[in-house]
């Protein structure tokens, strides 16, 4: 078996995940809800734990229903808790609270479960190196559906992400569209975390999007930069993890970080602040 065969699934997983997440990342950064995916992943993990308590194995269909169900409840909470104008409570506060409470509740649920405590870690760790082709095909199929959904509704989602007051002026039900946005986001997060782990999913979401925002304000250009950045750093990260025999996920995360620093230097060297309109 060649090195290439070993590394290929991890690299393809990186491509699939970055393809979906770099796009959602642009929305998430524009909305300033950076930690929403960590929070949703934790809420989904809580769902899995509750499923285990109810007697369903975490890898069973019902286990998945529990995790997705909880992620959708989380999505509803985030849709309803947009910046509260009169109290000025930022949405990040709600996201942070949801994260902490979900994590604590999962610990409580686990303390009542028989065995399986090992899985509490497994739920959030993920392992990009041991992903199977079947899993990748399923995830890719799902992401194509979510991508099509977002493409069809892109005008509304983008308007709300970029210019929420204008969206309200046009009479859009921001909460409804937000629920669709966070709901689809929850679907993506619950299917990418078991493959890549929270840390890597978070990095794929935010780093390419931020890198792209350094250079352009146009969505198309941003996506092109984000996708290229995600794909290239995935390839380098996967290769470095082989070269130095390091855990693959963590190597990709640090490579993404290094890539961002490099791009920031490029931007600085080629003239500060000249963001192409």
């Amino acid at each position: 078996m060649s090195v290439f065969q070993v590394l290929l699934p991890a690299f393809v997983a990186g491509l699939i995940v970055t393809g979906m997440l770099a796009y959602l990342g642009v929305h998430v950064v524009e909305r300033g809800v950076i930690f929403v995916d960590l929070s949703l992943a934790q809420i989904a993990a809580l769902g899995t734990t509750v499923g285990i308590l109810a007697g369903y194995d975490m890898h069973s269909e019902m286990g998945r229903v529990f995790s997705l169900g909880f992620a959708l409840i989380g999505a509803a909470v985030f849709a309803l808790s947009r910046v509260h104008r009169s109290t000025r409570i930022p949405q990040e506060a709600i996201i942070g609270i949801a994260y902490a409470v979900a994590a604590a509740a999962a610990i409580l649920a686990m303390s009542k479960a028989t065995g399986e405590t090992e899985h509490l870690k497994e739920m959030l760790v993920g392992n990009i190196l041991s992903v199977s082709w079947r899993e990748l095909a399923k995830t890719a199929g799902l992401f194509v559906l979510v991508g099509a959904f977002h493409f069809a509704l892109r005008k509304k989602f983008l308007l709300i992400s970029m210019d929420e007051p204008e969206a309200e002026r046009q009479g859009l039900s921001v909460r409804f569209w937000d629920f669709l946005f966070y709901g689809s986001f929850g679907v993506v997060v619950t299917s990418s975390v078991p493959i890549a782990g929270v840390l890597l999913v978070f990095s794929y979401l935010i780093v390419p999007a931020v890198s792209a925002m350094l250079f352009s304000q146009r969505l198309g250009v941003r996506l092109a930069i984000g996708w290229s950045m995600g794909a290239i750093t995935s390839a380098i990260g996967v290769y470095l993890s082989y070269l130095w025999d390091l855990p693959t996920g963590a190597t990709i995360v640090t490579t993404l970080g290094a890539g961002l620093v490099l791009l920031a230097c490029v931007r600085w060297a080629t003239g500060r602040g000249r963001v192409a309109a």
Partner: protein, 308 residues
């Protein structure tokens, strides 16, 4: 310069290639590699996935793991779901049919061993942290080590018949060493038969049973889930009442709670090594017991001296 390099390389190749093809053995734990190395001698080349200082439930897979697995002739696992968190997808990825469960190159070391706490009947929540197939920390009983060594020798003989006599001889030597070691260990811990200890969680039932020690309680019944205040109070009172002298903990768990319990009860917190390689001194299966037994006997002796 180049000639020297080529010459050196040839020499190395010659030195490294014995008259027989080496069997490539991958094990989930260093304990099994140590035993496989003892039994296989120069006929085997071993590689352990989890190092002795790592939590064997979670090993962060690296690319080299899949490569090693893809070339392995024999995979030795603890079984009883110990490796379920990371190993099955790696076996899939390696596409090595030989080492799949049930294949000729897959050896579940738990077969034939004395496995404790196999739940009988239905598992209920009241039973606490239950391993559905029994406690997977069974290699810490030297009698089980003997069973494992015999199983490895038998399997190696099956896979590599020309080595039969070498494996038999190596096995006999290993068993002799183990017997000698057991005399040492029994002598060291014998005086404390029946002593009660507290362990961090339920990882040592085989070790304790073998040396006739008793686990009176656990600090954190579930690792990672801090114990409830009521449990801590109960444990502290129990330890004071029964004058329990030591708390045993694995090196990879957080020491905060056990440390505070030890301080409140005057017990000694001992970092017990569960696997070969956990500390440099525990370099093989025999020295693992030498290390742990010496540590525990020392602590028990010190406590006995100071107590009425």
């Amino acid at each position: 310069m180049k000639r020297i390099a080529v010459g050196l390389a040839t020499l190395l190749t010659l030195a490294a290639s014995p008259a027989f093809a080496t069997m490539k053995v991958v094990t989930s734990l260093q304990d099994f590699s140590s035993i496989a190395e003892a039994v296989g001698g120069p006929r085997v080349e071993v590689f352990a996935l989890a190092k002795g200082y790592q939590d064997p439930h979670f090993v962060e897979p690296k690319p080299s793991f899949i490569l090693k697995l893809s070339k392995a002739d024999l995979l030795i696992v603890a079984g009883l779901e110990l490796e379920i968190g990371y190993l099955p997808p790696l076996i899939d990825q390696s596409r090595n049919e030989k080492i799949r469960p049930g294949g000729p190159g897959y050896l579940d070391a738990s077969a034939g061993c004395d496995i404790l706490e196999r739940p009988t009947g239905t598992v209920t929540r009241a039973m606490g942290d239950v391993h559905p197939f029994g406690n997977p920390h069974y290699w810490l009983d030297p009698d089980n080590g003997r069973v494992i060594a015999r199983a490895i020798a038998a399997r190696l003989t099956q896979l590599d018949p020309p080595g039969a006599s070498a494996y038999a001889a190596n096995l006999a030597a290993f068993e002799a060493k183990l017997t000698e070691g057991q005399k040492r260990w029994d002598a060291a811990l014998g005086p404390y038969a029946g002593a009660e200890v507290v362990t961090y969680h339920n990882s040592w039932p085989n070790f304790l049973k073998h040396f006739k020690l008793v686990a009176a309680g656990y600090v954190e019944p579930k690792p990672g889930v801090p114990p409830s205040p009521a449990h801590v109070v109960e444990l502290i009172n129990l330890m004071i009442e029964k004058k329990i002298p030591v708390i045993l903990i694995e090196p990879y768990f957080d020491q905060k709670t056990p440390k505070s319990v030890a301080e409140k009860t005057g017990a000694t917190l001992l970092t017990f090594i569960p696997s070969v390689g956990g500390v440099p001194e525990a370099k093989d299966y025999i020295s693992l017991f030498d290390y742990d037994v010496k540590l525990l006997a020392g602590a028990l002796a010190a406590k006995k001296g100071t107590r009425p």
